[in-house]
Amino acid sequence: MLTGYLRPTAGTIRVKDYTINEHTLEIKKLLGYLPESAPLYYDMLVYDYLDYVANMRDLERNRRISRIRGMGDLCGLNDVMHKSIGELSKGFKQRVGLAHAMLSDPEILVLDEPTLGLDPNQIVEIRDIIRRIGKEKTIILSTHILSEAEAACDRIVIIHQGKIVADSVTETLKQSVSGESTIYISLKNADFESVRKKLGPVEGIVSLMPIGQEDDTLNVKVTCQSSEDLREDLYRRIKRTSWILLELHQETKSLESIFQELTKES
């Protein structure tokens, strides 16, 4: 809707002083858009395509050439400029899409799943590009891959069934929901009863739970309030016993679990 592809059935969207129903053209000019899985004209050459897009966006000749060059450098397209888009790999198509979105140097970039279907190297590359541009431009990135959002975004809005369930800066979002954090401990030569006795009294612990015993190794899940870091305290106590500490790690809540929590509640 924001990009002018769909019409809102109710309500309106405002970008700067423009509303989408009256100033569709003006808003379209401000935006650059990369649709999901970058559908493109497969018969066209990459250069022709970018030239066409530049023309459509009213860039004058000199600027057009320099922008296409610039996008070629930025997105690593220079080697494929004279291939037809249909021949390109998924990653390159995505990059052509990205170049298309950024060609007119828009103030706002809307990217829908920009790293979908790419291999890990390409994901890192595209993310790099996004972050580089993000320094100067507003980027709206829509994605289902939360690690992606975490890596690239300053502010996250989670929408569940058409309603905003969370909207805040990435860091605050991570802290706000997770009132508790979890520490996993693996111990050798220990049984759960004595562990409970020794570690139970530590301040800040909400609960202790055994999560399995293999041979002589005991795994314990410790739930505690996230305001304090208990790892040091726990280690000191374990050191005094004859148990052998195999593993101790703290799990901060990932965006995934935050997302699950938020969408389950509503």
Binding site: G4, L25, K28, K29, P35, Y42, R57, D58
Partner: protein, 234 residues
Amino acid sequence: MKQVIHIFEKEFKTYFVSPVAYIVISIFLLVTGWFFFMTFFLFNQADLRNFFALLPIAFSFVVPAITMRLFSEELNVGSYEILLTMPVTFRQVVLGKYLASVVFVVALLIPTLAYPVTVALLGELDWGPVLGGYIGAVLLGAAFSAIGLFASSLTRSQIIAFITGMAICFSLTLIDKMLFFLPQILLGILQYLGADYHFRNISKGILDSRDVLYFLSVSFIGLYGTHLSLQEKS
């Protein structure tokens, strides 16, 4: 206006980058050439009446084949989304694509100029009806393009677009040949609807404003329908 030209350029180029253009043009030339010259020497008359008589039927197959990909392909691949998010209006999109198709029809007719030239070498050719015929052919092509474009905007499948377009064009061509089934009162109206009827008038060399108006209004209705169907989609 600039946008219309850019869309036109892109669409027109795409025709000639892919094999579509060459296939359509060769088939058209082959069919019309064969049917025209098959009887030409039997009649022993230096005119192109038979060629122009053939055109409406040939066009009702060829023109929808030209226009079928214009919207269907974009809807199917999804590039329609890209097109719409560029700073263009529906009207510009429709006009650009329409223009590409009309110019393609003109390009299709250019090689057929060899026929009148050949005929003129063989005997006395009256150039009046030939000129009228070509003007009529362009008008007819434009009207059918608009219909084909409309058919293409209805569906994602190029084949369905082609068949729908062809069905409409074909009925418009043949409608005045079916008239003997119908009562006298309807005759005038239905005859006026027939594309072939108007085309025949023009290709006799008579440029009547009624005939021109007919083709222009069919074009307009087709384009307006396309515009509506696109608006419906968003």
